[in-house]
């Protein structure tokens, strides 16, 4: 046992960009409650250097939160060739939506694709389940 677990984990600011994914969509057509749907929707993809900086490996859990919500996600490394420090990607779905603000500045259009949040490591917590979300 180290001291690490007693210290609060440092937090890192990120912009999360959401996008669609046909495999998740296919799983959703079959069932919104399928394991595959949950697995694909609860992954956050990070820049490789960002992962080193934060100290997370592919498959680790991370806590992502902001004023709108808090979710535990699985961190994976980016599949993009170009580095994108400070930007993370998620497939759109209830996990990403948990972080989208209700306030639309009166426009009625939430910022689904441009989410500000802070991310930190999580040792113990399990990835948020669909049931915990709503």
């Amino acid at each position: 046992m180290g001291f690490g677990q007693f210290l609060t984990e440092p937090e890192f600011k990120f912009i999360i960009v959401t996008h669609r994914d046909i495999f998740q969509n296919t799983a959703q057509e079959s069932s919104r409650f399928s394991e595959q749907y949950a697995e694909l929707s609860s992954v956050i993809r990070l820049d490789k250097d960002d992962m080193k900086k934060i100290g997370v490996k592919a498959g680790d859990s991370v806590i992502v939160k902001n004023a709108s919500g808090r979710v535990v996600l699985k961190a994976e490394s980016s599949i993009l060739e170009q580095p994108h420090p400070g930007t993370a990607f998620m497939i759109n779905g209830p996990w990403a939506n948990a972080l989208v603000a209700a306030d639309t500045g009166g426009t009625g259009v939430p910022a689904f694709k441009n989410i500000e949040a802070v991310l930190s490591r999580s040792k113990e917590e399990k990835v948020t389940s669909l049931d915990e979300l709503v």
Binding site: V17, I22, E29, R32, F33, Q82, T87, G108, V134
Partner: protein, 414 residues
């Protein structure tokens, strides 16, 4: 039975060349549809039960209960519609009118602004068939059709041979992609990817506008002006250009003005059109229908004889401001697709879900009524992403009611 070809309702591309094989009244094989289309046509593994308060009931009971909830509510909302036929949408609007309800659809936080601009003739548009036969310069802007509309490039926009595009994509067409990341579609477009920062779409439009006017195109993110000038040159020489606008673009524009200016400029030297990358198969259909009836594509409140419209009538603001006190959801899963804080609020009011399949919203609903899956279990008409009307055919028999029938029955009870 009809021999086909059938129409896939997996997305607003509404591919109409699908063949199926049946066994025991189930779709067991699907030809020509993409992966997600196949998954849709084969049907879901969790069909929706008919329930009131979680208990299985007879259809009549559920319909009566739904009618009661809607009648007793002071501010009911009728929401969804993107996965229903035009006929069902028409009925849903009738119901909302009769109830003095609020009505809105997913276009409210999606492609609505572009569909509205097109219906008001503010942006030139064209059909996908014209794209197939004529388009030589194709721009995917903030869109990744390989994931959202998988057959888009092969069926219409890039790879097919068309009347005026006989020599194939390498020689006859140029596909350009503007996005915040190298998506799978961008991989196919090679060096024609213009990668921009998140939210920088208006800046890029501006830079492109300058380049088209032979000024040095500057961007706050320092993209090489030479590359932008190169792009401007390709666009100027286009015989038939088309912009496929995805949500990435829509969400980055606070106002459509930069897009209007760009389209105007492009049309000074060449012919450019825009088609919104509508997701749900008949979202555009709903917008057309409501527009014809009220002059608005979405966000309508039937207040007595009057019609109120505006952002405050959007599904998001209505829930956010605690206006609505009951909601009927047709073919949509708002608890999954709305921002978390809004979804939580929505879950607290009495909900009625009409859908072929169970979803997050249905599991939190007071009443759930299973409906026939359009294009598979029932026929009807729909409007493709480009505004063209498409006839859907029924493939298999079912005793489930259609959305249209269910809404009509609820109206009778009211």
């Amino acid at each position: 039975m009809d021999k086909g070809p059938f129409v896939c309702t997996g997305c607003a591309l509404l591919c109409d060349d699908i063949a199926v094989e049946l066994q025991d009244n189930r779709v067991t094989r699907v030809d020509t549809a993409c992966r997600k289309g196949v998954s849709r046509m084969k049907g879901c593994v969790s069909p929706m039960p008919c329930t009131v308060d979680g208990k299985t009931v007879d259809e009549n009971v559920a319909i009566r209960e739904a009618a009661r909830i809607l009648k007793e509510a002071r501010h009911p909302l009728v929401f969804g519609h993107g996965n229903s036929t035009l006929e069902a949408q028409q009925k849903a609007i009738e119901l909302a009118r009769k109830l003095g309800a609020h009505i809105d659809d997913t276009s409210s936080f999606c492609q609505g602004p572009l569909v509205e601009a097109i219906l008001n003739n503010k942006i030139p548009t064209c059909t996908l068939d014209e794209v197939r036969h004529m388009a030589d310069v194709i721009i995917f802007w903030g869109a990744d059709p390989s994931h959202s509309h998988p057959r888009h490039l092969s069926m219409y926009s890039y790879f097919p041979r068309g009347k005026q595009r006989q020599r194939g994509w390498e020689e006859d067409r140029t596909a350009i992609i503007i996005d915040v990341r190298k998506s799978d579609t961008a991989v196919i477009c090679g060096d024609k990817l213009y990668e921009i920062p998140v939210g920088a779409d208006p800046d890029f439009m501006n830079a492109l506008l300058n380049a088209l006017s032979n000024k040095v195109p500057k961007t706050p993110f320092n993209m090489d002006p030479k590359r932008i000038l190169e792009l401007a040159n390709i666009l100027k020489k286009a015989e038939f250009g088309v912009v496929f606008a995805g949500l990435g673009m829509v969400y980055s524009l606070d106002s459509l003005d930069p897009l209007f200016s760009l389209m105007d400029k492009l049309n000074e030297t060449s012919k450019f059109h825009l088609i919104p990358m509508v997701g749900q198969y008949n979202m555009r259909g709903f917008d057309h229908t409501l527009f014809r009836e009220t002059g608005h594509i979405n966000r309508v409140y039937f207040r007595g004889e009057e019609i109120e419209h505006g952002p405050q009538q959007s599904v998001i603001e209505l829930i956010s401001n605690d206006i609505i006190d009951a909601a009927m959801i047709i073919g949509s899963d708002p608890l999954a697709s709305l921002p978390g804080p809004i979804a939580k609020k929505l879950a607290k009011i009495p909900l009625i879900t009409i859908d072929p399949c169970e979803n997050l919203t249905s599991r939190r609903s007071k009443v759930t009524i299973p409906s026939a899956l359009s294009g598979v279990e029932c026929d009807g008409t729909a409007i493709r992403m480009d505004g063209v009307e498409v006839v859907l055919k029924q493939i298999i028999e079912t005793n489930k009611l259609t959305d249209e029938k269910i809404i009509a029955r609820i109206m009778e009870e009211i």
